[in-house]
Symmetry: C2
Subunit: 631 residues, 2 copies
């Protein structure tokens, strides 16, 4: 079993693609058209669950809910506009990638930066979970018999996306382009067709397929609290718009222009979708159905069926919604590992997150994201509506910190137009900040408390990691040249249980590195062992004949039949007796050719090494002298 990069091909290659060298990194850049698919999936697909989340909250209002969706969507679109202009400026100011973490850290300081990072991590994880669960929601709307298998479908899709992402970003872009464009054109087509029909009928079109009447006939009166809750849920429609600004570096030249153009297209399409859905819900009097229960249908499914009927077009559109929603998770898979890498390079996360895998992807981030999102799906049984309350807090907190950071950025960079830019970002910060509070209050009991706990917990964890690394760095720091005092040969201890070739090899190695050698032997039974009998003739005699120093043979008693711990105890004693002297313990180790052969041995060498490392100290060095058995 050799692990060289040339030998482990075949299956792994097929699954993950061939390993890529570092110089190929520049080639992994995207153009605007691919960029819309990669960085826009999350934002655009939000249209499929945002309005529905708001309508679901208003189920108790009965038929009236379809009227309230229009003003709620209008406020969300206004908020979206503010955020759009804010991010256009962020992209321009941070062509190297202006994620909330970078912007907040640079302009607001370490703690707000880490707060933004924690918020974003939670946001990305939920993007994956909600995207997949909503996609499966679309699927079970079209094929109701699949409803009982919701969770299994969710986990299967998660596994698929994880695999695709482990292959790397460019191929991911190609995989996702086709369904994204099918989704955009078919959904915009349905919405446009519906709006024309509605306008032609004077605002009261006849649905091709009538939606089911609301299950509850106005069980509640409209209240400001309910509308606030609906708005808070609807804000999830805005998640994902920060993706472009995070990933500016991934765009082709001219980087900033391409990124801005991509963001403009994405936001434009999103606004059209949100407006269209709101108007048609109102015109066709469409209300939400109770999620996770029998008879559930997604709002998009109801709209498409009302506008175009349940024909081929319906299935194409819903198919695209399914694929795009499920794959929207890809935005998070592109960004989460990059974020973790940035945080890890600043020392706030384990090193592993900044190691690129064979395909230039930060593999560990992909694994963590897939694992935690999978956990959320399992806990919430794959039902979107249960995940929504956890969602918007992280996204809007990151928005707020990013905009606030930009305000400080313009304060420092007094370039032309800085005041105007500061105003725009300031407005963005206030609007999104207010939304954070609204969402947190409106959704606290339903699940926002989980996010509200997790974000500070992550923050504390990141600070602890950094503190640990700082301590290690301070301890290992060496600002002086190589110290050449006290370079004496080590005192060598060789455990000798039987006389054999591996023992001979260990002794021979000991003789090449030091003149002070002690052989230790653990006497297990109360009889003289063969080693003790042979020592004089086999070791002492030839060494004396050559005038070489003779190792002392020390026999240790072992009343408890341990072999390892008496040796470790002895080594510690020797270290204690020889103050300031380095002690090198030579451990002869058999190397087998098949792993299962290790089951036949007591693996004392491994145990001895582990125990020496555990109980040893700075002066004790462990030398492994392997003996390779013939195959």
């Amino acid at each position: 079993m050799r692990l060289s990069p040339r030998r482990d091909m075949s299956l792994i290659d097929l699954l993950f693609g061939r390993a890529l060298p570092t110089w190929m990194e520049r080639a992994e850049r995207v153009a605007a058209a691919t960029g819309i698919a990669i960085f826009g999936l999350d934002a655009l697909s939000s249209a499929a669950y945002g309005p529905e989340a708001a309508l679901t909250i208003m189920i108790p209002l009965g038929a009236a809910s379809s009227s309230y969706i229009v003003p709620i969507s209008a406020s969300i679109i206004i908020l979206l506009g503010i955020v759009y202009f804010s991010y256009l400026q962020t992209i321009a100011a941070y062509p190297g990638g202006g994620g909330s973490y970078t912007v907040s850290s640079e302009n607001l300081g370490r703690y707000p930066g880490l707060l933004a990072a924690a918020a974003l991590m939670i946001d990305y994880i939920l993007t994956v979970a909600v995207g997949i669960s909503a996609g499966v929601g679309a699927l079970v709307s079209a094929v109701p018999s699949l409803l009982p298998h919701t969770l299994l479908l969710c986990l299967g899709i998660l596994a698929l996306i994880t695999l695709v992402n482990l292959r790397g970003i460019r191929e991911a872009g190609i995989v996702f382009m086709i369904p994204t464009y099918v989704f955009i054109f078919s959904l915009l087509g349905v919405l446009g067709f519906g709006v024309i029909k509605a306008l032609a009928s004077g605002g009261h079109p006849m649905p091709v397929e009538a939606p089911p009447p609301p299950a509850v006939h106005a069980a509640a009166m409209v209240s400001a609290w309910l509308i606030l809750q609906a708005f808070a849920s609807g804000c999830t429609a805005m998640t994902g718009v920060e993706a472009v600004s995070n990933g500016v570096r991934a765009f082709g030249e001219p980087t900033v222009r391409t990124a801005q153009r991509t963001l403009t297209v994405i936001i434009g399409i999103l606004v059209l979708m949100l407006a269209g859905i709101a108007y048609l819900s109102h015109a066709y009097r469409i209300t939400a159905t109770p999620p996770g229960e029998k008879g559930y249908q997604s709002v998009l499914s109801l709209i498409v069926a009302a506008v175009a009927g349940r024909g081929v077009f319906y299935y194409i559109t819903i198919g695209a919604v399914l694929v795009v929603l499920a794959l929207s998770a890809n935005t998070a898979f592109a960004d989460f590992p990059r974020l973790c890498r940035a945080v890890s390079q600043d020392g706030f996360l384990p090193n592993g997150f900044s190691i690129r895998g064979r395909r230039l992807v930060y593999t560990q981030g992909v694994y963590v994201l897939a694992f935690v999102a999978g956990l959320l799906l399992v806990v919430f049984r794959g039902v979107t509506d249960r995940l929504i309350p956890l969602y918007a807090v992280g996204a809007f907190l990151a928005f707020t910190l990013s905009q606030a950071g930009m305000v400080n950025h313009w304060r420092k960079h007094k370039e032309p137009g800085a005041a105007r830019s500061m105003l725009i970002n300031g407005l963005g910060a206030i609007a999104t900040g207010a939304t954070v509070i609204v969402v947190l209050v409106a959704k606290f009991v339903e699940g926002a408390w989980i996010t509200a706990l997790l974000i500070p917990a992550l923050l504390v964890m990141m600070l602890a990691v950094r503190r640990h690394f700082d301590r290690i760095e301070a301890e290992l720091q060496c600002s002086h040249p190589l110290d050449l005092t006290g370079l004496h040969a080590p005192l060598v201890v060789v455990p000798v249980q039987t006389w054999g070739k591996s023992t001979e090899k260990a002794l021979r190695f000991a003789l090449t590195v030091s003149k002070d050698i002690e052989a230790v032997h653990v006497a297990l039974e109360n009889e003289k062992s063969s080693v003790e009998q042979l020592w004089k003739s086999f070791v002492e005699a030839p060494l004396t004949a050559q005038g070489l120093p003779v190792p002392r043979l020390v026999t240790l008693k072992s009343p408890f039949r341990h072999v390892i711990s008496p040796i470790v105890d002895y080594v510690l004693q020797v270290a204690g007796r020889n103050d300031g002297r380095r002690i090198a313990v030579i451990v002869p180790e058999l190397v087998e050719h098949h792993w299962y052969h290790y089951l036949l041995h007591d693996n004392r060498a491994e145990l001895l090494k582990a125990l020496l490392l555990l109980r040893g100290d700075q002066r004790i060095v462990i030398i492994t002298v392997p003996w390779y058995l013939r195959a």
Copy 2:
């Protein structure tokens, strides 16, 4: 976390008892009274399932089955007598312990010996499974509502016995003495009382509590095949009688006399029990009930209820049956590890089996036995009747090989009375050998095929293990004195990623063991690293000033971003270039104080060591220079 024998007390001590030194071994000896409990439990408790197994086979005969049990039991008692006299001789001839493995190996040769060992191992495992399942069978007879929890009860009892046995044999004897004697006296009491009542009533006593009428009214005609099957099942009543001869060494002085007396008492009691059960089944017309089904009652439960009614005495007797049956597994727990140890000392099983644990018990054997018996219980859902067909083959095969070995023994030792002894053992060999064939044929389809496959499989495995050890021994064998030619200092390779105290320490150690040192550095980004910049001033300058040899700094390129494999590749190259030279690779390693801190690192040191061992060769030595972080 220190693993010294003085620190890990408390909970482990409480569970397993304090660690015992080797010299206490002699004290762990048993007298005849304790011996009956330890070595007799298996044999005596067989009375509780042997006759029942025969009666269960005869369920289709209806009420008539209770007549046929008398001649079947009579043949089993005769067989038992033959085996008894055979084993008396074995004990005398092998005061050091005359298990089938020892006797067969010494007198018949290696393969028959290993065959006996394999047969015995299977036998012991089944003793545990059957003992426990039959015990639980008694329990659910008395408390029918527990029937659905059969398997759980079985596994719980198995866990308990395992724990008791890990504490060591003498304490086990005390734990088991009380229930054994309660069992013997209460069961013999019931049987005696029943026989008197039956004789007094002219052979047709009135039951206090009438057994349920047989479920099937003579659904089958009696046939030789059915009687043969019943006999084969009934033979399980004889399992366990070899235990005393295996454990002779554990008896107090005079060893042989004590052991023989113990065996005599055990066999005497067993004969009384078998005869009593058979007679009373006939007198009270008791038949078996379908096992594992609702309404199941063990035959012993039916007899006790018929003789004494379901009063306090019933519950005491059944309670003792339960405890003794379940604990009969203890015989196997006393013998299986000893057998494995003997086989392992001959090199046919991994070393681990001959290492005595903290309580002088061969711990690994206990674990293996508990695991496999647990597996059997799970597979057969804890129902005795399903386990019985697997059982008798192993036991009787071991009997046969042991007796046949004794025949050869007497042929070699021509002492007075040898001819008579040979005759007795020959008779035993023929009788038990014939029984093996009967059991194998009668039970093949029901499960004996599993045993018939497992025994040769075990045999092959043991031979493979021995072959492996022989090969290693031949390879390591060194019959010449220490070779002192070619003792040159090694060429030392030191991986240097950054300049720090642990790197300095590694370099300093390198300087103490050799003058030929190469430092290797993996360049990850295409920029000059700080190590390369510092090397001249921090390493070369001070060494040159002192007139010491200067290590060469080698920079390795890594297009695939690997850090470990370029170093390993380089070390292999160096080894290739320096034919016959030893290469020592120094691996600096950080030692953390808490295991979870290792999650924060990429643990490259561990990986490097593992890969060097995997891909290295005889000339490559690994030196771990640890750096202990402050707590």
